[in-house]
Amino acid sequence: MLRGKGRGIQFFDEMVGQGGEVRSPYREYHDWFDREDAARIQRKAQQAEAFFRTTGITFNVYGEDEADERLIPFDVVPRIISAREWRRLSRGIEQRVRALNAFLHDVYHRQEILRAGRVPVELISRNEAFLPMMMGMDPPGGVYTHISGIDIVRTGPDEFYVLEDNARTPSGVSYMLENRETMLQMFPELFAKISVREVGDYPLNLLKSLSACAPPACNGTPTVAVLTPGIHNSAYFEHSFLADQMGAELVEGHDLRVVEGRVAMRTTQGYTPIDVLYRRVDDDFLDPLNFRPDSMLGVPGIWDVYRAGGITIANAPGTGIADDKALYSYMPDIIEFYTGEKALLPNVPTWRCSEPEHLKEVLARLPELVVKEVHGSGGYGMLVGPAASKKEIAAFRAKLEANPRNYIAQPTLSLSTVPIFTRTGLAPRHVDLRPFVLMSPQGITITPGGLTRVAMTKGSLVVNSSQGGGTKDTWVLED
């Protein structure tokens, strides 16, 4: 599974095998594609772009002019997963999310895993996302990770790895839904021919799942609201999309205040209490009284309401510790500790640069590794060794030596490829997958598939939208 330095390394292509045979999940699609006029598909692809623009499915790129709203490139060739593959994946994902939630509960209560020495104490105590105020707090329903996104990569027929856990505020689910919607509009005949599992019920499941986590103070049908930083946030489209689809209010900090012990939103008829707040702002910005005093995004006093059982905050404050990439390397132990089972989905082998032995090896093999910041996200601040120049590697080496604790390293994975549609026909590009997982006291719901991100540039392994990556519709086939 490690990619060597030389050229000519074979990647696993999900559609076509090495002998040119089409793999079984793609057979029907491939037959259709072969008979289809390429010019027609080209036209449809252009229509899709216009459709995304009109719908406003754009994102703002940080650091650029606010007027510059960009489209995430969309590719019309679906990524297809068989029912058998999905069963295996979803079992592994479910196990992982259960363990994450149990871990968070433990860290914020008795800390047995630390006492048992399975996870080093510094990893928590030095973790910026750790919230001492959450100690002893019981979030409604015992749920910390209401919504999580588990990033998965594939390197072979049966080789799936978890690349990252996103338990803070995973984004991208609106693209998953709009991609499907677009495909349904462009190629309805495909869906008549091939049985693809539904994803469109995600917003309803989200609403149900959030409602099932209502706080003790709630009486009657829970009022759910989505908290957004506002229209200039890069994910604003997604925030409004989810609120719209759930029939929930989309609120900003200045719409909210604490009234009679509840967090309430200012409506045209006065203040109405909110039961469940699906917040898309970070912990730091939640409550200027208790966290960052300069934050204008949050609600002064929400923390006290939360402690008193007056509101559910999803995800729970302090869940960000699970996103930490150093902690990630302990996930197999964490899963075993709480479930008593081996992890069904393996981790990517990870060197923790905080450990001298590991650091030494990483420094020696820098040109062939991927090095990431422990708290980084969005593909920023990482080094992809094989793609970097000597100068870039030298600069990164200096950063790494100055603050090794801030980094982890992984082998450069030979990510699987799925073809994209280009002017000259199908061309393989590297992909990953982010399935979306909902958790409530009633159980775990995983939407079949998830968001497939694809590196649109030939040979590139970076799939992040902020770095020019695109997306595909993801199909999980019915049995």
Binding site: T54, G56, S240, D244, L250, D255, R257, M265, T267, T268
Partner: protein
């Protein structure tokens, strides 16, 4: 619904209405400038005053009231916060904020309108292209209006938008009268030569109603009739009385639905009753200019009251 969202819908509608009104003012100004080169400069100035943009214009371009300069200023000059381009952008920002209350069709129409006009107004518009560009602006707003009327639930969000539309429209019609009232004064009309044909046509064109006027009053052109038509004629969709009736309907809906009579409801009712329920002669007797000034300030006060009563801001 959220107070902020109600405010966004209200302002979205106001900005959309404003862009259409300004397009109409440019159209009327352009016609008169073509036919009357001698007075073109003062006509353009009065267009800018009507649109409330003269102050910005002078700050940026002094006394340079040429067709080309004024048209470009009103369409797309970055120095003009009320240019059509920036007004449409603000309409779209408000639509984005209130996105969850708009149907997909309405949102797409607003967004498309922003994209289309953005492309059309990227460069300075050549004089011979102006009619097409103005037509496109009107067409975009017709598309938004159609999507709005055809797909929106008749709930409070709908009513807040409608109030924004009619409040803005009443303001616009009153401003046209405010700038041109001297043409309608009886003293002018009574001085032998009939009221300046081109001038009154401009007035009627600025509200897209010169055909309707003829249809209604035949060929008779009189200051009294024009004023009556624009102020009191309840079937004319840009008259003050029509706008006022509509606002009363929409506020009345909120009153019934919320079960609470706001001050704004009372103010709007009073506006209709005290100002628009008397014959035109009575208005002239009390002074047309005074009437218009008073109406404009009552209309602005109503807007502020709505904002307070329905908690658009804290």
């Amino acid at each position: 619904m959220l107070g902020k969202t109600a405010g966004s819908l209200f302002w979205m509608a106001r900005y959309l209405e404003r862009s259409e009104n300004n397009a109409r003012l440019i159209d009327a100004g352009f016609r008169i400038a073509l036919t009357r080169s001698s007075t073109a400069r003062s006509e353009w100035r009065s267009v800018l005053v009507t649109a409330g943009q003269d102050h910005y214009f002078r700050a940026a371009h002094g006394e340079d009231y040429t067709s080309q300069r004024v048209v470009d200023f009103m369409l797309r000059d970055p120095a003009n916060p009320s240019s059509i381009l920036s007004v449409v952008k603000r309409a779209r920002d408000n639509a984005r904020t209130a996105r969850t209350y708009l149907t997909r069709e309405v949102w797409e129409a607003v967004n498309t309108s922003w994209m289309t006009l953005g492309a059309l107004l990227k460069r300075q518009v050549r004089e011979d292209d102006l009619p097409d560009v103005l037509a496109a602006i009107r067409q975009q707003s017709a598309l938004v209006r159609g999507a709005f009327g055809g797909t929106m639930l008749r709930n409070d969000g709908y009513n807040f938008s409608r109030i924004g539309t009619f409040l803005e429209r009443a303001d616009n019609t009153a401003r046209i009268l405010d700038v041109k009232y001297y043409l309608l004064l009886p003293s002018v009309a009574h001085i032998g030569t009939s009221i300046d044909n081109v001038q009154w046509e401009t007035i009627l064109r600025s509200v897209s109603a010169h055909r309707a006027y003829h249809w209604l009053y035949g060929t008779e052109i009189s200051a009294l009739k024009i004023a009556e038509f624009l102020i009191l004629y309840r079937q004319m969709p840009r008259s003050l009385a029509f706008c006022c009736d509509q606002m009363n309907n929409n506020l009345g809906w909120l009153h019934r639905s919320y079960g609470e009579e706001s001050e704004a409801v009372q103010m709007a009712a009073a506006m209709c009753r005290d100002r628009l329920s008397r014959p035109i002669q009575a208005i002239f007797d009390g002074g047309l200019h005074e009437f218009i000034t008073d109406f404009l300030s009552a209309n602005a006060a109503l807007a502020r009251q709505i904002e307070r009563d329905y908690r658009f801001v804290e």
